[in-house]
């Protein structure tokens, strides 16, 4: 027993689940089934047919491979007030995640192996079996001038490089970073933002920001940066075939379209979207609380929350301040379309916990970020419930999608990070069990993360996680569940 709770971190000696809905995104199969875990190994996966399968639907208990978050902020070292590796791992497991890749904007930045060792050591000390992977910084100190110790970081086991929180500062540095990391077989993960256009910006430029008197964050800021990144990538590709670019948390229709065309043209670029950009829109800042797809008119345009009487909550809630900002419902629909057509191969949480001190301030002064690792599944299930996203696609976006992205990075492809995530007999148990028939209310108490900056506080989400097993060990167990 350790600080995280009874049994967490222990090898799961025996766990059986009958008559559940299994989803295996590797084989593409889903349906009624049963699983048995013995001594940390997924010994048996049985697909039920005929009489035995009767009554088991995808609306009840579901078993899926453990989720893989390709972008989260664990804040340690340096910002332990907001989150520690231990609390973040507990939050991740509560959200159904068994593997998380953390971003290097810690303090000190993760720009040399010593910091990576601190993070790994904190992960070991936490006793949580959640696998913590890491991106190294692109630039030393994330200052945007010199390259970080990329080679040493690669040897130490980072799966790529990013200056996230910020873009790679100059096109020249990006080109060098792409070439050097390409040589090492690892990607650059880019936070695409034109800093000059977003100086002092508070909310997505548009109707809502105009009415609320908030400084606008132009679409051009993301589009401009993505264009730049793709152009530099195309050049760098000519010199080094192993260059890889991953654009994270894209939020606008225009930039997703650029990626769509770049992929079609054969550029080695991938991208992801976040749950909050799929499901929330800038009208939430004005006080709306309907899902983004509910704010779409029949012609695909965004509805007017002032005209609809959709404003039901106080405006200027700082848990809605995020980078990139929440966009229009039309952009959210574009994020979903990108996920459905494969332009975006994964959903990442960009889990960004903040202290009350950083968030209980005026909107324009609040830190950017949503604490989202525990609510990602619920948000995706809301999309599934609304028939916007098939359940299997949602699961894939959380498992095989990110795994496939990593598999596209030559040096990372051979590491366990790139392993396919399926329900494979004989492999170490790495799975999540959740009940779609149940719901849970997001509250400060129910969130394991130290970061209570979630715009979904007070809201009931579909799908309660019952059990998360990572690498054969118990990561999370619902206090009320009695599955064993």
């Amino acid at each position: 027993m350790n600080a995280l709770g009874p049994g967490v971190g222990d090898v799961v000696e025996r766990f059986e689940l009958e008559k559940a809905w299994l989803v295996d995104p590797v084989s593409g199969r889903e349906g009624p089934g049963e699983i048995v875990v013995i001594d940390g190994v997924l010994e048996s996966v049985v697909w039920l047919e005929g009489e035995e399968a009767k009554g088991v639907t995808d609306k009840g208990v579901v078993v899926a491979p453990g989720f893989f978050d390709l972008h989260a902020h664990f804040r340690e070292p340096g910002f332990e007030d907001a989150e520690t590796v231990a609390t973040a791992a507990a939050a991740a497991a509560h959200g159904g995640y068994t593997t998380v890749a953390v971003m290097p904007n810690t303090s000190p930045a993760l720009d040399e192996p010593g910091v990576l060792e601190r993070i790994r050591s904190a992960a070991r000390a936490s006793g949580s079996p959640v696998e913590v992977l890491a991106f190294g910084a692109v630039s030393a100190g994330r200052a945007g001038e010199q390259l970080s110790a990329m080679g040493e970081l690669a040897d130490a086991g980072v799966i790529g490089y990013s200056d996230d929180g910020a873009p790679v500062r100059t096109p020249t540095l990006l080109r060098s970073a792409l070439l050097y990391s390409g040589m090492l077989g690892l990607p650059i993960v880019e936070h695409a933002e034109d800093l000059e256009l977003t100086a002092n910006a508070e909310a997505s430029e548009g109707y809502v920001a105009s009415v609320l008197g908030l400084a606008g964050w132009p679409t051009a800021a993301e589009v401009n940066a993505v264009s730049r990144d793709l152009a530099v990538l195309a050049d760098a590709l000519r010199d080094e075939p192993r260059v890889r670019l991953h654009l994270t948390h894209l939020s606008t229709a225009a930039s997703l379209d650029l990626v769509r065309r770049a992929k079609a043209a054969g550029l080695p670029v991938t991208c992801d979207v976040t749950p909050h950009h799929l499901a929330l829109a800038d009208e939430w800042i004005a006080g709306a609380r309907r899902w983004a797809w509910e704010a779409l008119a029949a012609d695909g345009s965004s509805r007017d929350p002032w005209a609809d009487g959709a404003l039901t909550a106080p405006p200027y809630n700082t848990s809605l301040r995020v980078n990139p900002p929440l966009r229009t419902p039309t952009d959210a629909a574009a994020c979903l379309a990108a996920l459905l057509d494969g332009t975006a191969s994964a959903v990442v949480t960009d889990h960004a916990p903040h202290t009350v001190v950083d968030k209980e301030v005026e909107f324009g002064k609040a830190s950017n970020g949503v604490s989202g690792i525990e609510t990602a599944l619920g948000v995706l299930l809301a999309l599934v419930d609304a028939a916007k996203l098939p359940l299997a696609r949602a699961i894939a976006a959380l498992t095989t999608g990110p795994a496939a992205i990593v598999a596209g990075w030559p040096a990372a492809a051979t590491t366990p990070a790139a392993r396919k995530r399926g329900l494979t007999e004989g492999a170490p148990a790495d799975l999540v069990v959740f009940d779609r028939a149940d719901r849970w209310i997001v509250t400060e108490e129910s969130l394991r993360s130290k970061g209570k900056n979630s715009p979904l506080i007070g809201r009931e989400l579909p799908g309660r996680v019952l059990l998360t097993i990572a690498g054969g060990r118990l990561a999370y167990e619902d206090p009320q569940a009695g599955e064993e």
């Binding site: 109707y207 009415v211 405006p315 200027y316 005026e362 909107f363």
Partner: protein
């Protein structure tokens, strides 16, 4: 002022249906977007009474005797702050003034901590001005008393919009703005006065035109388009143009907004001289408005930039009236807010939120 006036018979808006009895229930006044038209008329009538008090030899009534009004100004503004303080004193309230240059806020105290401290020191009504949009909404969440927004960032300045409305009604026949053309010229993008006036003037049925250089109109056309065709119940459409002659032609009211020097540094304007030449309210431009049109300005003025000195002192300018009306409007609001909390319709403590009302189209 008429004696023994029947409320139902008051015709501030000529030709409108009799105003129904309305009860003030708002615990805060953060913007005019949540105030219904009957409530706006209640504010206008109460302001009439307050003007009556200001005309007396003793310009004071004991209505807020013993109540504490605290002004918390994060932005320097002597005029508005003094206006609020005068209003509070005229109602016999105790006034405490905090201007952040001299307070612990400069030592990094957060807004929330400041408000909690003020509440512990007995503040009951907080008049706030802040440079960040949305700040009073945060205040309303944490403060147990009443919050009156004295201006937040670019977002809202409800008391200014209400005193502007009151001033216009005093000069238009029957106090009726329906169909009357109002032109607001200036830095619309950064103006909380413009935004609050959009809400109140479209609710009043005015034909509102916003005008300024394209760089200072960014985003407003999208707003105007969204509101075209009567999308928002109880609010008409408004127009946005960068052509000052179109805006001012045949207007009943012309209002200039202050242009700040910083806009040049931000690359938004070539020079103040060019602004004055192309957009400034000079005598020639103002002559294209109606003969009896009034000229307004929220102050303080940059004479020679957005308004020519001769226009500012001309007979059509009602700028000093606006200042006097400002005290009366603020007295009315302090009075109504103070009564709301104790009244039968008070909202529960902590439930600060109100959604913008869907107003009835007919008034």
């Amino acid at each position: 002022m008429s004696v023994d006036t029947e409320p139902a018979a008051v015709a501030h808006a000529a030709g409108s249906a009799p105003t129904q009895e309305v009860v003030w229930h708002h615990r805060h006044l953060l913007d005019v977007d949540v105030v219904t038209w009957p409530e706006i008329e209640l504010i206008m009538r109460t302001t009439d009474e307050m003007k009556g008090i200001l005309a007396r030899p003793i310009r004071k009534v004991p209505a807020l005797n013993g109540r504490r009004v605290t002004t918390l100004f994060y932005e320097a503004s002597t005029r508005t702050r003094v206006s609020f303080e005068t209003a509070a004193r005229n109602l016999s309230a105790d006034v405490v003034s905090i201007s952040t240059a001299t307070s612990s806020v400069t030592k990094g105290e957060s807004l929330v901590d400041t408000i909690r401290t003020l509440e512990a020191l007995g503040a009951e009504i907080l008049v706030m001005r802040h440079s960040v949009s949305g700040a009073p909404y945060l205040a309303a969440e944490v403060f147990g008393g009443h919050v009156l927004n004295g201006g937040d960032g670019w977002h809202a300045h409800p008391t200014q919009a209400l005193l502007d409305l009151y001033t216009m009604r005093q000069h238009l026949p029957g106090g009726d703005l329906r169909g009357r053309k109002v032109a607001i010229v200036g830095d619309i993008l950064h103006s909380r006065v413009a935004r609050s006036n959009i809400w109140s003037l479209t609710a009043a049925g005015a034909d509102l035109w916003l005008c300024g250089p394209a760089t200072l109109l960014r985003g407003m056309d999208r707003w105007a388009t969204a509101w075209g065709g009567g999308a928002i119940p109880g609010h008409g459409r408004f127009h946005v143009t960068s052509d000052v002659d179109t805006a001012v032609r045949d207007a009943d009211v012309v209002m200039a907004l202050r242009i700040q020097r910083e806009r040049m540094q931000g690359g938004l304007l070539p020079s103040l001289r060019e602004y004055a030449a192309r957009f400034g309210l000079n005598a020639e431009r103002v002559s294209r408005a109606k003969g009896e049109a009034i000229v307004m300005h929220p102050g303080p003025m940059n004479e020679g930039v957005e308004i020519a000195p001769d226009v500012a002192i001309s007979g059509r300018a009602v700028i000093t009236e606006q200042v006097a009306n400002g005290v009366a409007v603020r007295m009315a609001l302090l009075y109504l807010l103070a009564g709301a909390h104790e009244g039968a319709h008070a909202h529960e403590a902590g439930h600060a939120h109100e959604a913008p009302h869907a107003r009835e189209a007919a008034r």
